[in-house]
C-alpha cells in the first residue's frame, strides 16, 4: 500500500451540518500533506461493518461502537486518538427541585426517563447507575425515548425528550450527559432553579478514532501527528476545534470504557439488539 494513499476515515452523520466540520478537517489534513478521504455513515453499525471489512482505515467511533468493534473482532481493534473532552464525562440523574428526593434509592417505584436505548450517556450508563443502587428494572420504571436509534445518543433528541418528560411530570427523574446539563442550563432549555442533579455517575470516556489491529504503524503515526499538530492557540485551528468541541487531541485510552462495558454486559445489550 502506498504511503501517499489517502487514509479513509469514517464518520457517522447525526446532522448534515456535521459534514461541514469534516470538510474543514479534510482540508486541514490536506494542508499537512497527509490527505484523508472521508466516508459518511447513517449509523454506527454500518460504520463498524465498513471498518471490519477494511473499507475504512479509521473510524470515528462512539464508545458503544468501540465496544462493538472490539466484540466483533475479538479485541483486534485499537483506539488511537480521542478529544480531551472525551475523557471523564459523566451522566447526571436530574430531578425536580423540592420533589423530596435525597438519594437515588428514593426513586424506587418511580419513573426515570432515558434517551435512546443505544445512548451510553442517557440510557446504558444511567440504567447501570440505578442498578448499582439496587434499583433493578423491576423496581423502577424506565421510559426510553428512542429518537434516532443507531446514532448511539449523538443526536440529543432522545435525551431532550426524556428531560421534557420529567418537566411534564410524567417521570420523576431523567438522565443527561454532564455537557448537556451545562449547555441546557445556560441556554434556558433547563431551568436550574427548578431542576437539580440528584446523582452523578462514575466518569467514563466517550468517542475515539478506532483502527483495526493490522493498520500500518506508519499510516497511524501520520494520522496521529496531523491531529496532534492542531493547536487551540492557532486561530486557524481554533474554529475547527470549537466546532468539534475540544481544546486538544490526546492519545486514546480504553480504561474509561469499563463502566459502559459492564452496562452492556449486564443489560445483555447486544443479545437484545442484534
Amino acid at each position: 500500500m502506498s504511503a501517499d494513499k489517502p487514509i479513509v476515515v469514517g464518520a457517522v452523520i447525526y446532522d448534515p451540518k456535521v459534514t461541514v466540520i469534516w470538510g474543514i478537517i479534510r482540508d486541514f489534513f490536506e494542508q499537512q500533506g497527509r490527505p484523508i478521504d472521508v466516508s459518511f455513515f447513517k449509523n454506527y453499525e454500518l460504520q463498524v461493518d465498513a471498518l471490519l471489512q477494511r473499507r475504512l482505515d479509521v473510524a470515528w467511533n462512539s464508545p458503544l461502537a468501540w465496544l462493538d468493534a472490539q466484540q466483533r473482532t475479538g479485541g483486534r481493534c485499537r483506539a488511537i486518538v480521542m478529544r480531551d473532552t472525551d475523557r471523564d464525562r459523566c451522566t447526571h440523574l436530574v430531578v425536580r427541585t423540592g420533589a423530596g428526593f435525597s438519594s437515588v434509592p428514593d426513586l424506587r417505584g418511580k419513573t426515570v426517563a432515558l434517551g435512546a436505548k443505544d445512548s451510553p450517556q442517557a440510557a446504558l450508563i444511567p440504567t447501570e447507575m440505578l442498578r448499582s443502587f439496587g434499583l433493578y428494572p423491576r423496581e423502577v420504571t424506565l421510559r426510553n425515548f428512542d429518537v434516532m436509534v443507531g446514532l448511539h445518543g449523538d443526536h440529543t433528541g432522545g435525551e431532550l425528550e426524556a428531560f421534557q418528560c420529567l418537566e411534564r411530570g410524567e417521570a420523576q427523574a431523567s438522565a443527561m450527559l454532564d455537557l448537556n446539563w451545562d449547555r441546557w442550563s445556560k441556554d434556558g432549555t433547563v431551568n436550574p432553579q427548578q431542576f437539580r442533579v440528584l446523582a452523578t455517575s462514575e466518569p467514563f470516556d466517550h468517542c475515539n478514532f478506532t483502527v483495526h489491529r493490522d493498520f500500518p504503524e506508519a499510516r497511524e503515526r501520520s494520522f496521529r501527528e496531523a491531529l496532534f499538530a492542531m493547536s487551540y492557540d492557532d486561530p486557524k485551528h481554533r474554529e475547527m476545534m470549537d466546532m468539534e468541541g475540544l481544546k486538544a487531541w490526546l492519545p486514546a485510552r480504553t480504561t474509561g470504557y469499563e463502566w459502559l462495558a459492564r452496562a452492556v454486559d449486564l443489560q445483555k445489550f447486544w443479545e437484545q439488539n442484534l
Partner: protein, 155 residues
C-alpha cells in the same frame, strides 16, 4: 428553417464552472452565479442551486401577483414571500452509506404577505391564477412535490 412551435419556445443558458468558485450562468445579456447543489454551511459564500430554485418558484408567485394585479388594476402596496423547501433525504445527496431515500424536493411551503386595501378575496383569486400559469410551480406540482401557499392579506 422551421419556426418554433409557439407552444414550445426554447430558453438557452450557458454555464461555466470554475475550479473552486460558483458556476457562472449567462442568459441573454444577463449573468449570475450559482453555487453548489446545496450547502449546510451558513458561511458558504454563494447562493446554491437549490436556493436559486426555491427563489425562482417564489419569484413566480410574488412577481406574478404584482403583474396580474397591474393588469386587473388592483393596487398592491407590498408583496413579500418566505419560501421553505425540504428534501426527501438530504443524507442521500451527501452519499451517506445507509441513506436509502432520494435527494429530491419533498415539499415547498410559501408564506406570502400582500399589503393592500383591495378585498382579500380578489387577491386570493389572483394568486390562484398566478399559480396556474407559473411554469416551475406547475412542474413541481406535477412531480409530486407537496406545495402549499399561505396568504396573509393586510392593509
Amino acid at each position: 428553417m422551421e419556426p418554433d412551435d409557439p407552444r414550445h419556445p426554447t430558453w438557452t443558458l450557458r454555464l461555466t464552472a470554475s475550479a473552486e468558485g460558483p458556476a457562472h450562468a449567462h442568459a441573454r445579456g444577463q449573468r449570475f452565479d450559482v453555487g453548489d447543489a446545496l450547502s449546510f454551511d451558513e458561511a458558504y459564500p454563494h447562493a446554491t442551486a437549490l436556493e436559486h430554485a426555491l427563489a425562482a418558484a417564489g419569484a413566480e408567485l410574488v412577481n406574478g401577483l404584482r403583474a396580474l394585479a397591474r393588469l386587473r388594476r388592483l393596487e398592491l402596496d407590498a408583496v413579500e414571500a418566505l419560501v421553505q423547501g425540504k428534501l426527501e433525504d438530504a443524507l442521500a445527496h451527501l452519499a451517506v452509506v445507509g441513506a436509502e431515500g432520494s435527494p429530491a424536493l419533498r415539499s415547498l411551503h410559501v408564506r406570502l404577505y400582500a399589503s393592500t386595501l383591495e378585498p382579500e378575496g380578489a387577491v386570493r383569486e389572483l394568486l390562484e391564477q398566478v399559480q396556474a400559469r407559473a411554469p416551475l410551480w406547475q412542474t413541481l406540482r406535477r412531480a409530486g412535490v407537496q406545495l402549499s401557499v399561505e396568504l396573509k392579506v393586510a392593509p
